[in-house]
Symmetry: C3
């Protein structure tokens, strides 16, 4: 029997609950300080306590996972806490494509993949001198939105950049990526692609709650003008959403182009869950500013399935459960090599 | 056996999934360019490909629907793409009341029905000279919110109107309807009225996500003041919501008054799903600014039922499924004439 | 057989539906003017019509409840309409701890309990002269957010206070509580603590929709500056949300400290449902500004269970149903005295 393993954070509860619903054994690689949380849930069969998630790379951990024939489900915490080299050196079979995770982390590779998939990406601004209109400055890597800020002139940019340097979040311009800011409805499009039957499923869409930018709209303009304010986009949580049905055809087309581009650029392609992240402008056009090449935390809102997964499955199908089901099917078909790397 | 048919857009997935859950045959009148999307879902039994939705009016389409004893479920796309005359000339039985759809499309009839139902409607502004306080300018018809804007003076109005003329969205003042803007919590109240047992069900409430106005609250006031901005209210999607329980009695009362008024003004009245759309002000008073006399897309968020439908039904009951159930019951009772026009 | 009783408002539908799902008899103490609403739902077995909720204190009502062996579920309406003395004098067994409701209503006791639980509470401002930065002025008691306002200077405070006096909402400074305003993502953390097995369950988190402050973010800054605006925070409804998983450990820790503190300060402690209410700042730190020592209305969004209750229970478990289940278990174990006061 195959087992499902993941790191204790991000979407571990969803992933392991889904695995248990599919009848698989569940293992959690868990920082010792977080054990109290995860011990509360009886769908977690075994906890592997570690001091650091990097121990996944060590023989002790790898042996336990191997003994259980575990597939490791990667998520945002894996990417945040390991280098691409470390991730690629993992011995345990990784669900999906571990090689594509480097493309998620590296801003240049990321843009290359998005453009190859013919996604519309907001224009990047090469340097602060070129800031002419509303621009967002983002830190490189999976920083979770902390230290991102809006600006519309070089003068204002310099002021805010210097404050971030002062509090130690960045070292200088090279730590920031500048991009034209597109205003509208933010949407995080969740997909699952199965190479077993070459089929793409649109799984749902969520909204993010980011602090403290979310609170800004509740401060009257008059009060705002009196505050020396730097926005921040620290992700706190997620809420459910559905899209206007006439947008769905394009949603599927974007997902399919992304799958095709990843097959061309980074073998074996974008297998398993992924997310295309962006904003619908006032014409209903979608601008992609990021992607995640693995399960996103926004799927946690759909622990019992989403309005879209309900169109496909007769049981409550979370993304975590969908992953486990894929592992089960591949195991049965002796195709586990196709869905892992 | 009766079948359920609808046009491929708006809430077609919900309607046909619900019909299938009730055991009915499902037909989709589908633009050829959209077939790829709908072929993904196996609860759609038959797709009738068309170049334009207007083909519903033609013998070929009507014959297929008749052969299947199909009831046609009208939604926003039907109203957006056909004139009231065309809708009224549909030969296929239309669920609910096709005559009331004219009252939804025509601003004057719409106001008449709302006032007859004793709904509180924000004051309309007769002409731009009368703009004294915060006012919303709306385009006539089911434009989906595109080109709507806020203004608080004639001077500002003229500037924005001229920009809309320039980009070809409107021709002049007569294409815009001016209404006092009420600030608060927007809410879209979804109802189902069954003439079979003269019973009204409150089915749920949703929030809309509109672009790009939704993004405005995330732009600091200082940056906003530097932008020459015209808001837009293009509906992108929906999220779930519940109301304070003490508001529910009034919600039901509004729904009942609407049903009664429609019985008086446009026979056979407001049968089936409808939506009362407005805003709760700071005193918890509801101001109605629109209604939809048929299923609204906001019900898509409740593909598996809403917190309110769960109080009434033991199975996951979407609005789409509720419609199908009504058709089933009426068929059994040989009362299909009562629930269609 | 035990029965579940509550007052007809706030979350009565959820509580009684949940009780019925657990197979218990349901009673509703209902104002006569609200009977029409509640008679629509057939999971309510018996309605006790009253002119005022205070009749719960009278022998007639108490006898009916006693005859049914009813446990009374307290909620926000009970607190809003009765004094602490009246609540404490209720003869019917009250679910949870009726003595702690005084600590919810009294601002000083409330702060004492929050600080004893080592929750981070935003600094209170002793008097209007001390307003230096963004501050929120709140009315005492369960006012539902009506008449709350933001201010950042004494001058502005005085102006807004005087307007509230003028419209009769307050009498003077002593009716207002001043607190530093923390900007970020508002979150209402719902818990259930069972003394039967000394176990805390995190049940879900919701967002509130408040009028008219929620509408502010859709008004361009330029228009805002032209309006003489006093914000209001009248709760209209709720929406679902999940938290970043890395925040959950701290969420549980806050809940446990709250349970422990209440055991020390107000016997028998915080049994049953409660809510810790606050805001996540840009560092992901949670600032508590309120608590509710009983079921909150935000649980209504989870009529069929929340993403978090789905991790614990195999059936759709609303907070109302969880309460009923606790009553059932305690009845079976002859421990009803432990879960009521």
């Amino acid at each position: 029997m195959t087992a499902i393993a993941t790191l204790g954070s991000h979407c571990a509860l969803q992933v392991l609950k889904g695995a248990k619903d599919e009848g698989l054994k569940t293992l959690l690689v868990c920082e010792k300080r977080r054990q109290r949380l995860y011990k509360r849930f009886d769908f977690i069969d075994e906890i592997i306590p570690v001091d650091s998630f990097l121990e996944v790379l060590e023989p002790r951990c790898a042996r336990i996972l191997e003994k259980n024939k575990a597939v490791l489900i990667p998520h945002g915490t894996l990417i945040a806490q390991m280098s691409s080299e470390q991730i690629e050196s993992i011995k345990t079979p990784v669900f999906g494509n571990k090689w594509i995770l480097r493309w998620e982390s590296d801003r240049n590779l990321k843009e290359k993949l998005m453009r190859d998939a013919k996604l519309d990406v907001p224009k990047s601004i090469p340097n602060p001198d070129k800031i002419k209109r509303l621009t967002i400055a983002k830190r490189h890597g999976a920083a979770g939105g902390k230290g991102y800020f809006l600006t519309s002139s070089k003068k204002d940019y310099v002021k805010k950049r210097n404050q971030l340097i002062k509090i130690g979040l960045i070292k200088g311009d090279k730590d920031l990526y500048l991009q034209e800011y597109v205003m509208g409805v933010l949407a995080y499009l969740q997909f699952f692609y199965s190479p077993l039957d070459d089929n793409l499923e649109f799984f749902g869409v969520d909204k993010r709650h980011e602090s403290d930018i979310e609170g800004l709209g509740r401060i009257p303009a008059q009060e705002q003008l009196g505050i020396d304010y730097i926005s921040s986009f620290n992700v706190i949580g997620n809420s459910p959403m559905v899209l206007r049905e006439s947008l769905l055809d394009d949603v599927y087309a974007m997902g399919e182009r992304f799958v095709e581009a990843s097959k061309r650029l980074v073998k074996p392609g974008m297998n398993g869950p992924f997310c295309i992240e962006g904003v619908y402008d006032q014409n209903g056009k979608f601008w992609t500013f990021e992607f995640s090449a693995r399960i996103v935390a926004g799927t946690n809102i759909y622990m019992e399935g989403s309005p879209y997964s309900a169109l496909i499955y007769d049981v409550p199908m979370s993304m975590g459960r969908r992953i486990a089901r894929e592992v089960k099917i591949a195991t049965k078909q002796r195709k586990i090599d196709i869905i892992t790397t």
